[in-house]
Amino acid sequence: MPKYQLTIYQPDGDPPPPEALEPVMAELHALNREMQEAGAWVFAAGLHPPETATVVSVRGGEVLLTDGPYIEGKEHIGGFTMIEAPDLDAALQWASRMARILDPLPIEVRPVNE
């Protein structure tokens, strides 16, 4: 079955206060559980903020380490969920439910190259 990565993009900076965040996380948790029960869930991960990232690249044969995220910007990947779905419509339905929970954060749906 095709796999899709649902990527959450979120603005940099402090997360929302707990009283706003907690109900959202609870709903997201419930959605993850529902995906698991439906056999759609492959794995999911939330990421620490972009300033904890390290970019590794090779320059002139030497490995170069750079502090911070690869792409400069005001928004970065906050997490992702890998799902299995029979087709794009099914994947978009899961993504739509996730987007409603995380409103206004956008969810990017990309097919996995297998």
């Binding site: 087709d87 794009l88 419509d89 097919p111």
Partner: protein
């Protein structure tokens, strides 16, 4: 008709059906297109020599199907999938012409999928269902051939890799998916009504295809008034076809058409649908456009046209879809109700400099106001911007009238 002409006609009429059937069979758009192209290449070679087969469309589909299987057999990847091929062989009988009435409908919902860019939806539908070539579609959209080719390749790659489904949406998804399909059918009809693809003034085959598909949609969603509206618009436009072109192939404007030549059966069918829309009383953009066409159809001669009603309907249409093109059409009604000066004041601020109709309407208004040189300039600009031969001839006629 020569056998070569028959190949061409069958190509236009049956390309969409053949591709749709083959996509269902092989699950791949490129493979289906290639197979159908192969089949037509064989037809071009064989029909003029041996004569066209009694059922040309069925022949094309069967030949394409066999060619696709030949290709797959040669393809190393598919060597390992002999079991699947055996299944395909068995399903041969399902390719008879009448066994597959809804394949084109599936294909149109795939082509018009909301995950595809709107420009790609129209291009794919015209390519796969309409059988237009990439250069023809590129001309219709005023982009280069390479841009259009790339757009089509990307859209097909997205369908394949993202697994955009090849099916008619579930009932609960249908309303949302419908507006995208209606927009595409509307554009296809327009291409059939007055071709922007060059060479031909109109493409009755595309117009008929749009009408047929909108009819299938109506069967599927019998209670959707916007479908009635779109079909009514098409029927009423189509009713004028016999009066739309003059002896030299020039376009005859609505105001100058010999209305006795309008197809009364189509007028009646269109007006009946418009009445159904009025009774439903939930107007949308397609229904309003149909109502405007119906007001025109009500007038036995152009002078009897109820322009006040048409203007009121355009006001309503502007409230639904406030686009510059609608504003331009509304200005034509304003010219009739309030005079050309008022209409000119409405259209001059519109950002439609690249649209031939903007200049054509301006030219007419300026001519009525007696500004001959300006009218000439506007018509000349309009003639530059259209490749449609009938439109060009009409504009040239206007230009020669203005120079004498």
């Amino acid at each position: 008709m020569t056998d070569t002409a028959i190949v061409e006609e069958v190509f236009r009429r049956e390309h969409g059906r053949a591709v749709a059937v083959l996509i269902r069979a092989f699950g791949d758009i490129d493979a289906a297109e290639e197979a159908v192209q192969d089949a037509f290449a064989v037809a071009v070679e064989r029909w003029p020599r041996d004569g066209a087969p009694p059922a040309p469309a069925g022949w094309i589909i069967r030949t394409a199907h066999n060619r696709a299987i030949d290709r797959l057999r040669r393809d190393a990847v598919f060597q390992r999938k002999q079991a699947e091929l055996a299944l395909l062989d068995q399903s041969d009988e399902a390719f008879e012409e009448d066994a597959v009435p809804d394949d084109r409908l599936r294909l149109i919902f795939t082509c018009c999928h909301p995950a595809l860019a709107p420009t790609a939806r129209v291009a794919l539908t015209l390519r796969l269902l309409g059988g237009l070539t990439t250069p023809e579609i590129a001309r219709a959209f005023l982009v280069s051939e390479s841009t259009m080719a790339q757009r089509l390749v990307r859209a097909k790659a997205k369908i394949r890799y993202a697994h955009i489904p090849y099916r008619v949406p579930e009932p609960e998804e249908l309303p949302d998916r419908l507006s995208a399909v209606l927009a595409v059918l509307y554009l296809i009809y327009n291409e059939g009504y007055l071709s922007a693809g060059g060479n031909e003034a109109s493409r009755p085959d595309l117009a008929n295809e749009a009408l047929r598909l909108v009819g299938v949609l109506e069967e599927l969603m019998p209670d959707e008034a916007e479908i009635w509206g779109l079909r009514a618009s098409m029927l009423l436009s189509e009713s004028r076809r016999p009066a739309r072109f003059g002896p030299d192939g020039e376009l005859v404007p609505l105001s100058e058409q010999d209305r006795s030549r309008w197809d009364r059966a189509l007028v009646t069918a269109g007006q009946r649908l418009v009445r159904r829309c009025l009774l439903r009383d939930r107007p949308g953009p397609y229904q309003i456009q149909a109502a405007i066409a119906a007001v025109h159809s009500d007038a036995p001669i152009a002078a009897d046209t109820d322009w006040n009603q048409i203007l009121a309907l355009y006001d309503q249409l502007m409230a639904h879809t406030p686009s510059p093109v609608v504003a331009l059409n509304r200005a034509v009604a304003i010219a009739e109700v309030r005079g050309p000066e008022a209409a000119l004041a409405v259209i001059d601020p519109l950002h439609l400099d690249g649209y031939y109709l903007f200049h054509a309407v301006r030219g007419d208004l300026l001519e009525r106001l007696g500004s001959k040189p300006e009218a000439r300039e506007a018509h000349r600009r309009a003639a530059e911007l259209t490749v449609n031969p009938a439109e060009r001839r009409l504009l040239e006629r206007k230009l020669s009238r203005l120079t004498t």
